[in-house]
């Protein structure tokens, strides 16, 4: 459909953008092998000593674990709450439907620092609810913007499926829960995967809201920020980030495969 010239220039542009996206990442990985503990160009020399140090760095490990925990819990909460909201919004018409979408979008649309300071004063000045900064405050903070990610994906998917399916299921005698399990869930499953993946990514890498809700513990991004301040342990940071990139390749590829044929109006 497009002319050859168009296709060619598009491919060139794509390659350039991929390079643009990945050169800093490659640099991070290369500098994980930096022999000096301060980053400068060109690289001072190659060494793998940081891998050993990072592996045994207790703070890095506990930060990584905390991040995984927080992201996992926040994503789970987002899956449940997001799907619930999405199901209702796409199946019923009622006043305030738009308001719900707006409310859910707010945490992502408003700057993180606003969410951060709101939650910070909420948690710090409130003896009534007794919530002190802990894993749970981090999770609550993250869940505010994770819910909308799942919600959007599920709503988009549900919008493209026919309600006749659920109606047929009900007519055949299934109750609400059975309908959900056997009819709705399979349809939205890949949307859930896509939403969960994005929500996990957002939570795992989140630093602004977390700074305000984390108290004394470190999630991985906060640990990284602390090390950027020190200026002396950057290679260890690079090692950890390198490790994370490698670890996430597989889940991302799987997720992409799963969600590939989302387009009902597919061609080619």
């Amino acid at each position: 459909m497009e002319t050859r010239a168009t296709r060619l220039s598009l491919s060139v542009w794509t390659v350039l953008i991929v390079l643009f996206l990945w050169i800093p990442l490659v640099l991070i990985c290369v500098y994980a092998f930096n022999s000096s503990n301060i980053q400068s160009w060109p690289i001072a020399g190659f060494s793998t000593k940081w891998f050993h140090l990072a592996w045994h760095n207790e703070e890095a490990r506990s930060a990584l674990v905390l991040s995984l925990k927080a992201a996992g819990i926040a994503t789970s909460i987002a899956l449940v709450l997001g799907t619930a909201a999405a199901t209702v919004v796409s199946r019923f018409r009622f006043f305030g439907r738009d308001a719900i979408t707006f409310l859910l979008v707010l945490p992502i649309a408003l700057p993180g620092v606003v969410t951060g300071i709101a939650l910070n004063s909420f948690f710090n000045n409130n003896p009534i609810h007794g919530l002190t900064p802990s894993l749970w405050t981090i999770v609550i903070g993250h869940s505010t913007f994770c819910i909308v990610v799942v919600y959007n994906n599920v709503v988009a998917r549900l919008r493209r499926t026919q309600t006749s399916l659920t109606e047929a299921s009900m007519d055949l005698g299934a109750d609400g829960w059975q309908t959900f399990r056997f009819v709705t869930f399979p349809v939205i499953s890949t949307a859930l995967v896509a939403g969960a993946l994005l929500a996990f990514a957002l939570s795992f890498d989140e630093v602004i809201v977390t700074t305000f809700t984390a108290g004394a513990q470190n999630t991985l991004p906060i640990w990284i920020l602390g090390n950027l301040r020190l200026g002396q342990q950057l290679p260890q940071v690079n090692v950890v980030v390198f490790f994370v990139i490698v670890m996430t390749v597989v889940p991302v590829v799987i997720a992409q495969r799963l969600t590939r044929d989302t387009g009902i109006l597919r061609r080619r």
Binding site: L10, L27, I28, W41, L106, A109, I117, F212, V252
Partner: protein
């Protein structure tokens, strides 16, 4: 009603943990702090808003931030569109998977580390100047300037712009384009009058991310810039300078109002369906 039962948990969660906190925050914009001990005093006053409106420094900071957010959004939209188009309509399925992974993976690697990597590139003795020297071009002094911030912001938020545009373009049925051709439109016209309008919700959705993320960020300005953005003022007044939450809250109304307007506009273009 089952619908209510399903709706209450998410709504309740958001109301209690988000809206209520936001409401309290904006109420505190009308309070003040004791100047020495930094404790919150419940004296109702307009001073905070007064300072923001009348002090030129804060106006300058706000404009600077909004301008950068707009610039970054425009840049990302221009960069992302051809890329997303290629991904959605030209690439083979296998290539599409690869590109998708290549765009998504950076979102999983640390945002901080990626910004820091740009320092390595943009430093005086960094990779960029080194490369420029090798091909005989003049050295640049972009480190810690607005140019550096523009580059880094556009870089960091690019995947957020690519994905919604890709989703929107991917959904355009071939039949529309065939119909357009049958009606006599040439490629450019089809592009202008069929593809772009259909992709617009995706672009608007992506722009919500790029605009709001730039509007509130304080980390990128601290790491690669040398001037204050709205986020820096808010951050500094809560966690940096004396705990002047009321002032931060007052200043936070600026991005709130800006985003409210932006969201209203984006909604008209259909962005909410394309998120």
């Amino acid at each position: 009603m089952r619908a209510v039962a399903l709706l209450l948990p998410p709504l309740g969660w958001m109301l209690v943990f988000y809206l209520a906190a936001l409401a309290v925050l904006f109420v505190s914009a009308f309070w003040s702090v004791d100047s020495f001990t930094g404790k919150l005093t419940h004296v109702w006053t307009w001073t905070n808003f007064d300072t923001i409106i009348h002090d030129p420094t804060y106006r300058q900071i706000a404009w600077r931030t909004i301008w950068m957010a707009a610039l970054v959004t425009l840049t990302d939209a221009l960069i992302a569109f051809p890329f997303a188009y290629y991904m959605a309509r030209v690439a083979t399925p296998r290539l599409r998977t690869l590109l998708f992974v290549l765009v998504l993976l950076p979102l999983f690697s640390s945002y901080l580390a990626r910004i820091y990597a740009w320092r390595l590139i943009l430093n005086q003795d960094g990779a960029l100047n080194w490369s420029l020297a090798k091909i005989g071009l003049p050295q640049q002094d972009w480190a810690f300037t607005s140019t550096a911030m523009w580059i880094v912001f556009s870089y960091i938020w690019l995947p957020f712009m690519i994905l919604p545009i890709y989703a929107a373009l991917e959904r355009i049925p071939d039949s529309y384009l065939e119909a357009s051709r049958d009606l006599g439109a040439r490629n450019w016209t089809t592009f202008r009058r069929v593809i772009v309008p259909l992709a617009l919700p995706g672009i608007a959705a992506g722009s919500i991310f790029t605009f709001s993320l730039t509007l509130g960020d304080y980390i990128t300005p601290s790491l690669v810039g040398n001037v204050d953005f709205i986020g820096n003022v808010i951050y500094r007044n809560v966690l940096g300078l004396t705990n002047n939450l009321p002032f931060s809250a007052a200043y936070a109304t600026v991005p709130l109002i800006v985003m409210a307007i932006y969201l209203a506009l984006a909604k008209r273009v259909g962005a909410f369906e394309a998120l």
